[in-house]
Symmetry: D2
């Protein structure tokens, strides 16, 4: 099953939409045929995504034009705000065989959890059941078999990937887990707001929902344990670094941690262990990952305080959003998992 | 005892030295008479500290010129690298009545602890006993009575100040404490190194000694409890934000936390509580504190995960170094504690 | 005439307004009694200007409350958008004896010039005549005698101050003048807009009106010669660096340039010459001037291409706006010109 | 002639070397067989270039190992400091059929000019004659026929490319030309120095050699006219924006400028015109070009002051160095000019 598929993007004016376009334009098996944006109808896609000048002739269409007749789609990426996606999904199911949704709407197995964390009722619980959580490193087989994928949140990805092997293999004796994330400004989206005004946002180290952030729900669902999560806005555009303080009754040994990580990720193409004794980049560093689909994982052991410090870095718009969505689409379509996702990061940057 | 005193600075070429000079030049009661720098002998102070152009005619002298005859000092600030300070302190005691040391050498009560954290023997344990830990919000009376003050480390200040009231008043039931700090590049000092090279350092979120950092020792000494500490370099020059995850068996109530903070700091001139429901600056934000001696403290409660998230911000070179040193000197000299330390921060910045 | 005066600010919610408040709160002779902001009526001033927490109890009032009865004003700073100021000025003249206007409305002597550059008719030409252009280094005597001052634009200040002595003393043989400015994001004001969204604005080197910028009008008026002006947005919040390419038929000698600069500015408190052969800060550097009212001027001579390169740095919100306005107010009130404006910059920053 | 060629890099530890490695590892026709660095012998290439982790197994060899026997090279990139290259070139000519040199040593036709601008004698003038200036947009045919290419300087590229069509087609009546460049910190190289220390370098707008910069020599040679050049360090790692003030007796018309640009560059793959009436990116913006080989060119006309403002943006390490070197190598080898150089920039970034 390696024929080319026709794909479209709903909600292509935002940053995640822009990255989806960039990746799909370079994808060997996917032909991007339509991108919607209600407020930008008729405008050239490269007006909003100026990095795509000379790369595409596409113009935005309205979502209303996205009909089965018009587009003949195999694959649809929906990059809509939370709430909007579940409202409109029924229609999209009738248009495209396969769907990768990048909103938060179909990530949680339980509609009750959705209501708890998002503060509103889930309006399409029967569709919710049909979606698979799209974290390939954890659910490769299920995603391969799935037609509908709910792609994970960015900070959730940067917490679940490093924590999963630890909790699976060394979960006993864990006392508490605090995930302290540092996040670039693009995670707040393309929409202007007072907090994103450059004179205010530049150089901040800004606590954002130090308790009660929604992505906690995904972490706890995937990890099966309680997680304390506190994100911070820092001075970069792209990138997340998660520092994960895993407090143990008795901290595991170095070999145990390596064994757990290797068991799960030794052969993962998009996972890279970073643990150097020397040099400038001893631990995961998000800026090196700009534009790539890689997760860097590192760790350090605190014998004195029985703590394992896990560190993980990603590009929030790629492995944390568009890249991971394409990775899942590749699996679902029977393509090479890495198709369209091979890109070398830059240094210095 | 409010007469003017004659002061000097040993080690005035670094960033802390520069801030000491700036503050003392504006101090109503202190006359800065000499600043040493062995490698910059004879150079104008403002060549290294270009913000002081037009503000001072001082030139660096060598430490050897700093004799009792030459300077007739009342007050000496020693801003030397760790290890150097304890080596030379005997001499300085003979020159000046009062000393504020900004190195790590006299901060720890126990020479054994020093050896454990700094990896070398303490060479002046008998002098060590004579120094008082210079955190005025905790030890005002002792500092007022002291002639020799060991001024705290920057990340230690940003952890101890917010944690002290909590541990004093609400210490029971604490399971673990993780201090996750985000620190500007000036905390690494004025000396060039590969990690501070702009193309490498810009935009990083860099884990630095995620376990085993020396400032942990000060935190544990002052707080009387185990603390897990992980600093990170982030993209600012000045500023520290500490996010402190206090894990409880059962998290205290909102009123209890406010009561603890107010009991200790209600009347503290340099402590400011920041806890807004709206606006851009709901929690402590280091960039607003550039150049000021203020500690901002905020917090949020996690009912679901029994966690108190404390946040604290300071300027690492002022409240974290030079400003706090002058604050202690003011107490020791019988001056207004705030003398020379009133400066309004900038916004936007 | 050194008694204290009562002052108010119209339009206090923006960045210039905030800086005016900060400066006036620390002014020895001025009592700030009211700050208006229609959209923030009743809100505490420090909610919008969080650096002023603990520094003031003032709340915003509406402009309508600003009546002669209510405020009994001696001095009024109007920091309104262009166009608004000339519309409302008549009223303000009846409220306050002295007025410093920070808009562009009363800067140009000729209403025709206003119309040419601002694209709309000047609605109060008869008031316009009563205003003095508030650049103290050029017009000290006139400002001292004036009650109504139009404070210069930020990029205009950073061009006129360095160019004035050159054109006055060495104006002959100048072929062309290009002013190439690099400007921080705060110059765009406090209002959110798509271009100021952090993910877009960060790290740009953005040409903004490379020809036809309004501040050109002020430059040409004050300098009496044609000037080509091109500003750029760069990655800082505060600060302007003007690089001024003065093309000569035959470039003047080093001594001539020094003589011209010294003749005009040798005794100017807020002008500093920066021309070092060594060190990191050989030429003017805006970041060192954050929060100060200083203009740094440097230069270099190109013998080969008969060009004098003038460089000038200011803080756009202080010497480029609020600070210079207070400097003029000081003159007009008969105070020390430097009152409230002594602040040492920070290094590093 | 499209067979694969074996290539090596001399001087692979710097930033240009790193970019060469990155590009060559992704090149369809070039096999990178060796990279030298005397001080890093035996170290894995990815230790210095951490973006290449998982991308290469290469380790640095010493230059001494780079013999004809050992490497059997077709193509050699020399990325050595100025002065070093001309000293060692004789030897390299005996090792490799084709050479692309990235130093300044062979860029100037006249050894006298070299001596004037570089302050030292050219030690290999007879080799100098054999090198072709490697700016494909100007010298495509010559480079295609050449075996030895001297690749242009970064700021020279960002000035020559936009100016060449203007001077060729609309050169008459030009009075003066000032090239005012804004440059990221990576242009200063990978070597630590006081000026690149992050607390000093961050947020600067730093004039660097406002007169007399060496790259002027290349500009004047290629353009055949006098150019006034002033570079500035600004707060980015990568990227150059050149603002070029072309002063005319009488400025040409809009259509003339477009015609000149189109005549020369209409079909140039790596030249993109950027001139939008709306949107955030109306003019060239270097940050969008990170990692790409594109030159963006825009312009604006000043009728009032008879000035054409040209703007050009590049990534200094790609089109300004490694990318352009590979572009020339492609021509010389008979490959597609774009081979290995197709990379889409990122947005936001």
């Amino acid at each position: 099953m390696t024929e080319t598929r026709r794909a479209a993007i709903v909600g292509g004016s935002g940053y995640t939409g822009g990255e989806l376009i960039r990746i799909l334009l370079n994808h060997p098996r996917i032909e991007l045929v339509a991108v919607t944006s209600r407020s930008n109808e008729g405008r050239s896609v490269s007006k909003l995504h100026p990095n795509l000048r000379d790369k595409t002739e596409l113009s935005f269409i309205t979502p209303d034009e996205l009909t089965a007749e018009f587009t003949d789609l195999d694959l649809l990426f929906t990059a809509l705000p939370h709430g909007k996606s579940m409202e409109l999904m029924e229609n999209y199911l009738s248009i495209s065989e396969k769907i990768v949704d990048l909103s938060g709407d179909f990530r949680l197995d339980s509609p009750d959890e959705y209501e708890y964390w998002y503060g509103e009722e889930h309006v399409a619980p029967e569709l919710n059941e049909q979606f698979t959580y799209g974290l390939p490193e954890l659910h490769r087989t299920k995603i391969t078999d799935a037609d509908y994928v709910a792609s994970p949140g960015c900070t959730a990805t940067a917490a679940i990937v490093p924590l999963y092997p630890i909790i699976s293999e060394l979960g006993e004796g864990i006392v508490r887990i605090a995930v302290d994330s540092k996040v670039g400004s693009s995670a707040g989206g393309a929409k202007v707001n007072p907090g994103s005004h450059h004179p205010e946002r530049r150089g901040v180290v800004r606590s954002y929902m130090p308790t009660g952030h929604r992505h906690t729900a995904e972490m706890e669902q995937e990890l099966g344990t309680k997680v304390s999560f506190s994100p911070h806005g820092v001075e970069t555009v792209r990138g997340i670094l998660s520092t994960i303080h895993v407090h143990y009754e008795e901290v595991p040994g170095l070999g145990d941690v390596w064994q757990a990580l290797r068991k799960h990720y030794e052969d993962e193409h998009f996972v890279r262990f970073v643990n150097e004794r020397k040099g400038l980049y001893r631990y995961p560093e998000p800026k090196l990952l700009n534009g790539t689909n890689t997760v860097e994982i590192g760790f350090e052991l605190g014998q004195r305080d029985d703590r394992l410090v896990l560190m993980a870095a990603i590009d929030n718009l790629v492995k944390g959003a568009a890249g991971q969505a394409v990775q899942s689409a590749n699996l679902s379509c029977g393509y090479e998992e890495t198709a369209g996702l091979e890109r070398t990061g830059l240094h210095p940057i």
